[in-house]
């Protein structure tokens, strides 16, 4: 601390008063309290003190003090800041919207996951509110029915202080024959700050994103991608591994064997998870009857299985998917009973996976079909509710990061 400088600043009426007298920023004057008043300002301050009828500064003391402090600083350089994993400078996060995991590089995925950690913390407090997005308007435009994702996005927006409006396709002019593009133009004209979209057709969200000025977040487009689900699953896995003392320090999931089992064909969750988990270094297996495994899926880098037991062998994580009957065009499995017989996750089956294997499900679950209740509720193994918790945090992080450009916040962090 700069004793002499502090005394003089206080004598003149404090930091703000001095700042006003000098027409200098408060932060500048404040910094003098620790580094000393610079010589270039002293003459000016002497005149100010004279005009105000205050005692003049003890100039020799202030000069000696400042130079002494400068010398100590030079002798003990500040410890270098931990090197950031993210690009320095004022450059913004390089994506205008979040259309899919496919567009993200590994460090961008890690950044979103790291950003979400603060919101996990906040969401566990009694008072779960910030004003970071205060004054912003977010529209949740859901052209397809949804409960949990819509709720999750709504809560995320509200906890960040934004005004959140939900648009349900059932009550919208979409039913009256308005085209998707016209709907997008309408939303755009309302000067919203972010649009969250779910639509039943692959690529629909991208189509809208090309037509609007604000960030667009994909909350699921057809059978293409559901990026926030991919991210939240990675975050939930990271937390589960941390609880087991197996988390890696760099936040990656290197070498983790994840088995995704179920209706991979019709699942956007599977596609986003395959891309996200692989970007983080995990080894992904997919398992489904042939009719529900899309052609060429191995080209995405996964190992395909038809026999669940083989796919489970030694897996660290088992992610179960629901049969998406609403997307099926014809019959893909003979009956739910038969499906459970071949692909249901029972306690006996789970025993084939690695000891302590983690059980996941994006929901909604069909208990007794793809997953037994005993497994779904297995404490310490099933992280299904944690996935939902992480969902809110991830969506807060995405909304925060993607609106930074619009809010004039510079840089990544």
């Amino acid at each position: 601390m700069a004793e002499a400088s502090n005394q003089f600043i206080d004598a003149l009426g404090g930091t703000s008063a001095v700042a006003r007298l000098l027409n200098a920023p408060v932060s500048t004057v404040h910094s003098w309290r620790s580094i000393g008043i610079p010589q270039s300002r002293l003459a000016h301050l002497r005149l100010v003190a004279l005009a105000e009828g205050k005692p003049p500064p003890d100039e020799p003391a202030i000069n000696a003090e400042r130079d002494g402090l400068a010398a100590t600083r030079k002798a003990m350089p500040a410890a270098p800041a931990a090197p950031s994993r993210y690009p320095p400078g004022a450059q913004a996060f390089p994506h205008r919207g979040l259309l899919g995991i496919g567009q993200l590089a590994t460090h961008e995925i890690l950044f979103l996951l790291d950003e979400a950690e603060q919101w996990v913390e906040l969401n566990r407090q009694a008072k779960k509110h910030t004003d970071r997005l205060a004054g912003l308007t977010i529209i949740n435009a859901f052209f397809e029915n949804s409960t949990r994702t819509l709720l999750s996005f709504e809560i995320a927006g509200k906890r960040l202080g934004a005004d959140v409006v939900n648009m349900h396709a059932a009550q919208s002019s979409v039913k009256k024959g308005e085209t998707l593009i016209d709907t997008a133009m309408t939303l755009n004209a309302m000067q919203v700050d972010a649009i969250v979209i779910r639509h039943g057709s692959s690529g629909a969200v991208r189509l809208i994103a090309d037509k609007v000025a604000c960030p667009v977040l994909n909350a699921g487009d057809g059978q293409h991608e559901h990026p926030t689900q991919g991210l939240l699953d990675a975050l939930a896995l990271r937390h589960a591994l941390r609880a087991r003392g197996r988390a890696s320090s760099d936040g990656m999931l290197n070498g983790l064997v994840v088995t995704i089992c179920g209706d991979v064909m019709h699942s956007r969750v599977a596609r986003s998870n395959i891309l996200c988990l692989q970007a983080l270094g995990a080894i992904v297996r997919v398992c489904a009857p042939p009719a529900l495994l899309p052609a060429g899926v191995e080209a995405m880098g996964v190992t395909p299985f038809h026999h669940f037991d083989a796919a489970l062998e030694g897996a660290d994580v088992v992610m179960m998917l629901r049969l998406q009957n609403e997307r099926m065009d014809g019959q893909f499995v003979p009956s739910p009973r038969e499906y459970r017989h071949l692909y249901g996750l029972t306690p006996e089956r789970l025993a084939r996976a690695a000891p302590d294997a983690i059980v996941m499900h994006p929901g909604p679950m069909n208990r007794g079909v793809e997953i037994d209740s005993t497994v779904a509720d297995l404490a310490g193994r099933s992280i299904i509710t944690a996935q939902v918790e992480m969902g809110v945090a991830i969506r807060m992080a995405c909304l925060d990061v993607l609106t930074r450009r619009g809010r004039g916040v510079e840089g990544w962090a």
């Binding site: 496919g102 085209t179 998707l180 593009i181 639509h199 057709s201 692959s202 690529g203 629909a204 991208r206 189509l207 487009d221 057809g222 059978q223 293409h224 991608e225 956007r268 596609r271 899309p294 052609a295 060429g296 899926v297 080209a299 995405m300 065009d329 014809g330």
Partner: protein, 408 residues
């Protein structure tokens, strides 16, 4: 309009089925009078300045009559598919369609094989032939019922009309909008295995062989289906095959970014199938290249991929794309015009499609090396839905005559 004066085009490189040779072409009363002889006194003389003189293109399979696009592309005749609204399943509609382009574009309607193209009840094929239908078509759909297809081919054989089929097994294809494979999987698009085509080709070829009917498979786009066609031709089955430039120029990689201009029926295939199409063009398995011209505006195309209508505006780029095959030494120049003019004329049974004495004087003067860039924003077509947007190409029509009368 009738040709008033004899026309002599001098100094041209004439493209005939025998090859390319320098010479003069004389046309009188709308027909070609002489190939290779000198101009006579009183002729209207056009100097071709050494450019190519070729038959006007006959586009074997378009979905819309789009005169500016056809004339831009050197097309003087077009076979109109029955997928109109309402479908061409009635003699009166066929007669109207047959008149609709005259005089500077002749439209040859293809009669709908079944009422409403539903694949159930045979349409009045003989009456439609009287009204001007030059062939029969199943349109963009496949006749699922093999019994119906059998009877159709029997009937068509009796009427001596070609049946133009769309070979794609409906059960397997379902609502697919892409070929099953990595691309469709990554994009999450409903997809069907490429074998849907070979299955349909196998059945239709078997029935054509059984009935003796002439069968034209409008688009054969996969290696397996092309092998079936090749084998059938070797056996002497009266089967011919066609394709559009999209399937020899593009693979399903063009679907990236959900570009709906690349939403086609049948869907784009993988690279191995594209190469098989090129090989089949080279060895003569494919007889016809058509544009499949189907201009679609934003109301049909600016939609999510799976919801968009299939089809491309192809008339303007047809010639340039076929000339690409010549430049790549897949085919000789005269064979290029077999694909786009002579073979279609034979299938339709019209006296046109080649520079031969007595043939209709449908002529195109072409600069085969003129470079230009396809631009979907500046198309002559009713809509700019071309999958070749921004692609640099070579070959433009300089002048076009229909029945000896200059067009445009």
């Amino acid at each position: 309009m009738k040709q008033a004066r004899p026309l002599a085009i001098v100094g041209a490189k004439l493209v005939t089925p025998q090859g390319v040779s320098p010479g003069t072409l004389r046309c009188v009363d709308g027909r070609i009078l002489a190939v290779g002889e000198d101009a006579q006194p009183g002729d209207e003389i056009i100097d071709a300045k050494g450019q190519l003189l070729a038959p006007g293109l006959i586009d074997f399979g378009v979905f819309a009559i789009d005169k500016p696009a056809f004339h831009f592309g050197g097309i003087t005749r077009a076979a109109l598919l029955p997928d109109q609204s309402p479908p061409l399943d009635h003699p009166a509609r066929v007669r109207f369609a047959a008149q609709s382009g005259k005089p500077d574009l002749w439209v040859h309607p293809l009669a709908a094989a079944t009422v409403g193209l539903e694949g159930g009840q045979l349409a009045e094929l003989a009456l439609m032939r009287e009204a001007g239908a030059k062939a029969i078509s199943t349109g963009r759909r496949w006749i699922a019922d093999s019994g119906v297809m059998h009877r159709l081919l029997q009937y068509a054989a009796m009427l001596d009309l070609v049946v133009v089929a769309h070979p794609e097994d409906g059960g397997l294809a379902g609502h697919a909008v892409a070929t099953a494979g990595e691309m469709a999987t990554r994009l999450g698009l409903p997809s069907a295995p490429a074998e849907a085509e070979a299955l349909a080709v196998a059945r239709d070829v078997a029935l054509a062989e059984l009935t003796g009917a002439r069968l034209h498979l409008r688009q054969v786009t996969t290696a397996a289906a092309l092998d079936l066609v090749r084998a059938a031709k070797r056996r002497g089955v009266a089967v011919t095959a066609g394709v559009t430039p999209a399937h020899f120029m593009l693979s399903d990689l063009a679907l990236g970014d959900f570009r709906t201009f690349a939403r086609l029926s049948p869907p784009l295939r993988d690279e191995a199938d594209r190469q098989a199409v090129i090989a089949a063009l080279g060895d003569g398995t494919i007889d016809v290249v058509a544009s499949g011209h189907d201009p679609r505006g934003p109301e049909d195309k600016r939609l999510p991929f799976a919801d968009a209508a299939p089809g491309m505006a192809g008339a303007e780029t047809l010639l340039a794309m076929v000339l690409t095959l010549v430049r790549d030494e897949v085919i000789a120049l005269e064979r290029a015009f077999d694909l786009v003019a002579r073979n279609p004329a034979r299938l339709l049974g019209v006296a046109a499609g080649e520079l031969a004495v007595c043939a209709e004087a449908d002529i195109a003067l072409i600069d085969p090396a003129k470079p230009w860039v396809v631009d979907s924003a500046k198309m002559a077509a009713a809509a700019g839905n071309t999958p070749f947007d921004r692609q640099p190409v070579e070959g433009r029509v300089l002048k076009l005559w229909k029945g000896g009368v200059a067009v445009g």
